[in-house]
Amino acid sequence: MGLISGLLTLPLAPVRGTVWLAERIQEQAEEELYAKSAIRAGLLEIEAARQAGTMDEQELAAAEDALIERLMAIRGLAGEESSGGIP
């Protein structure tokens, strides 16, 4: 997702070889880590609110759903179909 499209949108970016690519992959991993970490923090907050009973459960579940779906999108799990050989 982000890596390939990111590379394609770079203006005048020459192909600099495997080290450069490895660095870009590393950055992508780091960006994902920050994003995942923020989502995890959000989920923990929701849990705390749930245990404190401060918020309506439906609202909490909706917020939780949004975070989970965002997490899955980051992981590239969204819409993924890996077909097995077994019908």
Binding site: E30, L33, Y34, K36, S37, R40, A61, E64, D65, A66, I68, E69, M72, L77, A78, G84, G85, I86, P87
Partner: protein, 256 residues
């Protein structure tokens, strides 16, 4: 156990047929959770109607089903989102061909639980310690602070590199420390990827049920040893997600 003919089947996990786990909580799509048996093994499943599932809601269902089933017995968790074509497919494609391997895996997991330990650095303390203890960092930091943003650009990068390397080194040290303290009290260990940018370590342990208290005491001691540098989050018992990771799509080689 009602056979549902050709409906698709969502698979949660595998357990010994003799340890029937009663799951009262609804599964995916709120469907009733049941088992499909074959050769001493049972797959924990529910029927699926729709072509696509709402990921977040079903993730929660998946989790809750496994949590409840695990109260009764050791369940081998299956990867989230696994759907097979029918009850027969579960019997003929999952349980039958992998009978020996699954039985062995269940034997290895029987009477054991997963415990997770995540450590997180207090960023401020960590960085303060790095500046205090690494002279080159302290010196470079001084220089950078005196320069403008543009003049100091490359120095800042260099500073950041040094700090990043130091953090990585400490992360390795602290991971090794945690493993040294806890690995001896566990059956198996899984070292995970950092869960956050401030992560010190992300560890999963397979521990005998009877050994959880002793393991927990060791975690308490480790907490004291790490002090305020690292915040620990100690969670469990969990179904053995991290120790069920055999890839059945590889066929027979997976059991080598």
């Amino acid at each position: 156990m009602a056979s549902t003919g050709d409906a698709s089947v969502y698979v949660y996990g595998v357990l010994p047929a003799s340890d029937q786990a009663r799951v009262s909580v609804g599964g995916v799509e709120g469907a009733e959770v049941r088992t499909i048996e074959h050769g001493g093994l049972a797959a924990l499943v529910s029927s699926v109607e729709a072509d696509a599932l709402a990921a977040a809601r079903e993730l929660r269902a998946h989790w809750r089903v496994l949590e409840e089933a695990s109260k009764a017995t050791t369940v081998l968790p299956v990867r989230f989102g696994t759907v097979m074509d029918s009850d027969d497919a579960v019997r003929e494609r999952l349980l039958e061909p992998n009978s020996a391997g699954l039985t062995e895996l269940l034997d290895q997991l029987a009477g054991r639980v997963q415990l997770n330990l995540k450590g997180d650095y207090d960023e401020e303390r960590l960085l303060s310690a790095v500046v205090r203890e690494v002279p080159t960092v302290a010196t470079l930091r001084e220089r950078v602070q005196k320069l403008s943003d543009s003049a100091g650009y490359y120095d800042r990068i260099r500073l950041g590199e040094l700090v990043a390397a130091e953090v990585a080194r400490r992360r390795e040290e602290d991971t090794a420390l945690a493993l040294a303290r806890l690995e001896p009290l566990s059956v198996a260990t899984d070292v995970g990827q950092p869960h956050s940018p401030d992560a010190a370590f992300n560890l999963a342990f397979l521990v005998e049920s009877g050994g959880v208290d002793a393991f927990s005491d060791a975690v308490g001691k480790l907490r004291g040893e790490l002090g305020e540098r690292v915040t620990l989050r100690y969670v469990g018992p969990l179904p053995p997600y991290s120790f069920a990771e055999t890839d059945l799509s590889a066929g027979a080689e997976a059991w080598a």
